[in-house]
Point group: C3
Amino acid sequence: MALMAVNRIVRTWDSMADRHPAGRFVDACLRGASQVMLQNNPLTGLLILAAIAWGSIRTGTPAVLVGVLVALVVGTLTALLLRVDASSWRQGLFGFSPLLTGAALPTFLAVRPLLWVYVVVGAAVTTVVTLALSNVLGTWGVAALTFPFVLTSWFLLMGAYQFARIRISTLSHPALPAPPESAHVPLTVEYLATGMAKGVAQVFLIDDWISGAVILVALAVNSRVVALAAILGTVVGTLVAVGLGVPGDPVGKGIWGFNAVLTAVALGAVLYRPSAAVTAYALLGTLTTVGVQAALTTALTPLGVPTLTAPFVVATWLFLLPKRDFAPIPHHERVEEATAVTTARPKH
Amino acid sequence: MALMAVNRIVRTWDSMADRHPAGRFVDACLRGASQVMLQNNPLTGLLILAAIAWGSIRTGTPAVLVGVLVALVVGTLTALLLRVDASSWRQGLFGFSPLLTGAALPTFLAVRPLLWVYVVVGAAVTTVVTLALSNVLGTWGVAALTFPFVLTSWFLLMGAYQFARIRISTLSHPALPAPPESAHVPLTVEYLATGMAKGVAQVFLIDDWISGAVILVALAVNSRVVALAAILGTVVGTLVAVGLGVPGDPVGKGIWGFNAVLTAVALGAVLYRPSAAVTAYALLGTLTTVGVQAALTTALTPLGVPTLTAPFVVATWLFLLPKRDFAPIPHHERVEEATAVTTARPKH
Amino acid sequence: MALMAVNRIVRTWDSMADRHPAGRFVDACLRGASQVMLQNNPLTGLLILAAIAWGSIRTGTPAVLVGVLVALVVGTLTALLLRVDASSWRQGLFGFSPLLTGAALPTFLAVRPLLWVYVVVGAAVTTVVTLALSNVLGTWGVAALTFPFVLTSWFLLMGAYQFARIRISTLSHPALPAPPESAHVPLTVEYLATGMAKGVAQVFLIDDWISGAVILVALAVNSRVVALAAILGTVVGTLVAVGLGVPGDPVGKGIWGFNAVLTAVALGAVLYRPSAAVTAYALLGTLTTVGVQAALTTALTPLGVPTLTAPFVVATWLFLLPKRDFAPIPHHERVEEATAVTTARPKH
């Protein structure tokens, strides 16, 4: 019943969005918000924006919400000006990376007038970078994922260390990496569960477990398999990190969940057809995400910038590029499969 | 009248260069000097070499001139030995990156006998790297630009920290990045204008405003649009950096101008057909260059090496790879354009 | 006579390996051990494993032998599960990178129960990364070489700095790079010769000169040209590093030999047809390897991880990508050659 109501709302919206240019623009923006999670659904996007609104206000950082909305609009508009492929544009594929740039800058930098210039220019550049990376990665048939956001935001955050008028607020001070103290932090079930829920919200740089729960609902509206993958992602990512002995504080903030959420959704529920083999493969990809996140955390410690979603991107690329086919192969496809395998053959 | 005289000189030289192998070699070297600025004109190259000679002697670093000449000859010769494409060779496309390697090494390392081994081997390797990167980047139809110089020189400069017999002279000591003091440096019009003129010369690692002026003349000899783009580049790059609050000393040395000069020339005057849309796009690319330069400055601070022209290369690649077509599209080209856009379509 | 006996053993083994699945698996693993040195010979692989066994026991690090064997089996098995190209699999092309991951982790990390989880997961991931990088690099017709090992091990070693339960043992403490003291270390012929022999063994992270000698025999069993190239590689690499003034201690451990060994074998004896021109080109490639190793040592100093075989990989890629043809060109091939050169033409 609820599902039918949802479907009716979506259909009504779709037909409205088709008729008005402004409706199409809003629709592309909403879908852009859902594309961060690799979904293409305006209602999912609306609920995600609601979760961001709630979380950014609740944690006392309303500038994050403003940054998200400004960057989503600017990025989507820039794509329009650059006359990108219309179908990709309508699916929100030029909105999700700018949105994240708009979330990251007010999270890590002090909110001053010049920050908003940074956000607007950063969102426009994120769209250019999306086109550039999509062209490069298209060679191997893989998507740029959120890497346009990561690259642009790394540039803007690392750049901030040279500019007296852009002030760093919550970035960690550049330092040499050092192993964590072995001091044990008591991890209760409640603490872990809160951290896991926050892990879903941290995809959008939101440190709030209710936002995480709303985002899970937003995903379930579009696909229950995706919502399930997100849950498994944050649980596995958090538990593996705890098992390897990471400090307790980031665990409680969901820091070890969000990249794993994205990898689990991408590999386990969206980019491969779900099956037992795919689940095993996605699990190995999720473990790899935790390892890459730890490695990039070390690598970026001297530069004073966070990994953002780079661990998800790197791990997912590494697990997409082998071009494995996990579905049973019908007879008439075998020739093509053989060719694909040949392409991936290592040589000396 | 002056232009006609110039044209006559160039034509006489061309016909002479065609007849003698030695003339062809000198011609390729002169064009190589002009190709640093993406020009293909032996007179421009000659004037640029004159600007380097003046600047390197005036700033008390004649080894830079020697390095430039040695590396230009060695790099061009190495390309000949490796039997590269003859037409590219004659256009100087195998001279410009070695030339810059030859300028960078004596600028940052102490002048000792072993340095010259470093310069000769470095110039030869720069040519190999030019071939390697051109092959890779040809996949997407973009040029390696000055990245063969950047990569080889980074290797040689970072390598110097391991070698007792190669002494570092002017490289910044490796350190952790730290935000600049907000202390305000008084920036007079004269100070800024001198910095902007030096910005043109700093493309060749020359800290002298007269050299910058001569290089602008060298560009104007070949194309006034290019000279104008270079001026706009150094003005925009310097002003944006000052507006964001960089320290005053590098501004006065033209450090915030040279990458912006190259991006403005590449995007605004050479690689796209100049138009209003292209100017806007090149302006965004020039802003991006300043951001990338700040980011790479932070990233390289712990390693004690400078960005060289990497900010220009990265920003220009990011703005070339989207493969946008800014000219009005004639009817019969629309199909092809649609295909090009489809290629650059991001996917999930 | 000895050669004929060796040939008979290899033929007997081959026919046995053909008949039994278990034999095929062991054969693929043995060939995998030989593929680290770009060879495809089970006897070479067996002798290399014997050299690793001797060296790891003699230097008091038997965990390295265990790691090598476990990772070789796990990596080869993972490839089987992922249904890779059968012919590549049988040649050992999915064994050599995991083998090195299995050698590196117990070398640099403390031997504890959790380390073995790290080794098993690391070996499986190395195979996935092998497929991913082979797909990417296949675009330009070059092999991934040992880079899947380098990338995976860098991730696992850098990651260890975040995990309290994975303990670092012999990694250098993260630090800012600093030039070496000019203090002269007396380098005797014996000291240098031992270091050069160890250089061959250090390909497998073994610090023992007898292991190095056994590996040279293992190579000679398959190809005397390859064994000669390996000797020249470690001699040139070590002497060039000493000539540039590196500290004496790493020289004595063979640290400046192993990357040069691999480049000399790859460029001088395996991937190009040996000739005078190829020898000169491979020599320049070997010099470049020393430079890249110094540069990466500097770049990785703040992150506290070693270069592993990245200098070999980077230098060899740079010298393979130009796609030069050093053999005299028969008339009927000229057209194709011209096309190949055109592809590598740099553009502006």
